[in-house]
Symmetry: C2
Subunit: 362 residues, 2 copies
Amino acid sequence: MSSSKNPSSSLHEKAGISPPEITNVAAINQIKKNRRQQPSSAELIDGILNGNITSLSRAITLVESTNPEHTAKANEVINGCLPHANKSIRIGITGVPGVGKSTFIEAFGSFLTQLGKKVAVLAVDPSSSLSHGSILGDKTRMEELVKDENAFIRPSASGDTLGGVARKTRESIILCEAAGFDTIIIETVGVGQSETAVHSMVDFFLLLKISGAGDELQGIKRGIMEMADAIVINKADGDNIKKANQAKLEFNRALHLFPPKKSNWQPKVTTCSAITKDGISEIWDTISQYFVQTNESGFFPEKRKEQNQFWMMETINEQLKLNFYNQPEIISQLEQNKKAVQNDEISPFTAAQSLLSVYFKK
Amino acid sequence: MSSSKNPSSSLHEKAGISPPEITNVAAINQIKKNRRQQPSSAELIDGILNGNITSLSRAITLVESTNPEHTAKANEVINGCLPHANKSIRIGITGVPGVGKSTFIEAFGSFLTQLGKKVAVLAVDPSSSLSHGSILGDKTRMEELVKDENAFIRPSASGDTLGGVARKTRESIILCEAAGFDTIIIETVGVGQSETAVHSMVDFFLLLKISGAGDELQGIKRGIMEMADAIVINKADGDNIKKANQAKLEFNRALHLFPPKKSNWQPKVTTCSAITKDGISEIWDTISQYFVQTNESGFFPEKRKEQNQFWMMETINEQLKLNFYNQPEIISQLEQNKKAVQNDEISPFTAAQSLLSVYFKK
């Protein structure tokens, strides 16, 4: 193809009157001006407690910021919201790509808002900073829910570490709950340890599966099945119904092999279709039943307390390690110590002690 | 019962000539004198490399000591032994009390020494400091092996933390290997996280079970089955044979449900009797097969390198936490922060940050 202009070509456009602006410049300037006027933390708290979605979004943006000033402000907002959070059920949903997580959340979330629930959908996806939002990034996959005024959808925070992403999501949960969302859905994909992180911040953990050919249970990541409070076999429609029921049997048999959970909850296996909506209401029945049972036994509030404490300790441990491994003296010696240990030149304990004495001598 | 002496009682013993000492006082004094003359670390290394069991025992005692002087000397000995360790196979054995671990190790260990192997049996049992040695404490349960000159049995080190006990056992492995023991058996019971610790220090992990009535798989601790390279159903003799074979079938089916291991090793289920010795040689065949397969694939040496590195990092993390939580300022503030976090008065992250800023300001 030639890149030179050909004036006789019909593709050549004659100079003429500019088309009218398709956007309202005055309105844009007003929006920009409003953006510059950052509300105070008191204003944000007030807005959130009044269910203002703009305040909620702004506060989450502060939580996600790496700017220390924003972090300080975010902490003020979170601590102001805390006494008003906690009245909710937090549901973790995991499943490998292709299992239909987005369509399931769309169907399940819409079902819940029709029940009068207010549903917030968040995500933990540490890979999203690389892939620029693989899950929930494309809100168009939740067409109905995104327009629903009783639903709030927010893509995964980005961050270098799972710990960072998890912290941001956990703080966002508090903000959503203070804004009146009573059902929090946390989506995750099986990347690294993200399921474990999500499991530590939710009340109920749901594993989404589809039926495949042959052995249904192969390929489930270690430990995931032990975490599940429910396994839902999605896409149980049309020709798939028979296979889905077969998969349900297999999963039930497999779950039976695990020791009883601390919650005394017997995990349930059900089938559903995000298209025909079959089985969607049963999932909510299961979760409600879990909520009642574990509240009666006292497990539910106890688990939340434990989770709070877990996140405090986890943050401390992470920061201690971060500080240690970021010291220039440690960085310069760590690799050679690792190599010496790998090659059995010094014992792991001597190597650790030598690094620790460098660190604590400072 | 009266405590006053009754001279007319036949229980009254008349004064007479003392019976001869049943112990040789001169010999005892010689032993005590020898004990006081602690050998140097060079002498210990030399003794260990020559297969001297007294040197080995003394070095392990140094490893287990909490005296900092002993620790320094122990480190010298370990680092001197390291280049001569590593030529072995390390086998972890776990199973709940009653499964017959001691009799199994007695039978298996004796089988191995008859093959010309040198077998060291160590243990990780963090509960032993409370119960004063619940496993391996009673050497009489391994009557044959304890007299075998090609076997070395050492009860679990005691310690306040699993980390401490695990470190001591791991260092003892190095010493045993340097002393020429080529098969190291590490026994553990399902207390806390002790299986995970043992799994991180062995090449091959064996789960010992017995067949019971009904569902064989219930009651297995979470994660244990995923760690196992072999499951051995013990006490498969007499009337038990049929039940043991049934259990074997069930375990085989259950193992099939797990995803493939990183080692590409397909875990084996066998039955055995520590009494009739049936199945004992098959267990060694399985372990040998694992050894060949994972050496050929390179997994075996790679795993050992990873384990070395793991223990270095683990020691660092443990020490960082220990230092943090032992600061008087942290101790005095931790409990109130925990409580505030549990009651949702402050967020876990704010609580962590406030403790961290106290710690790092020092």
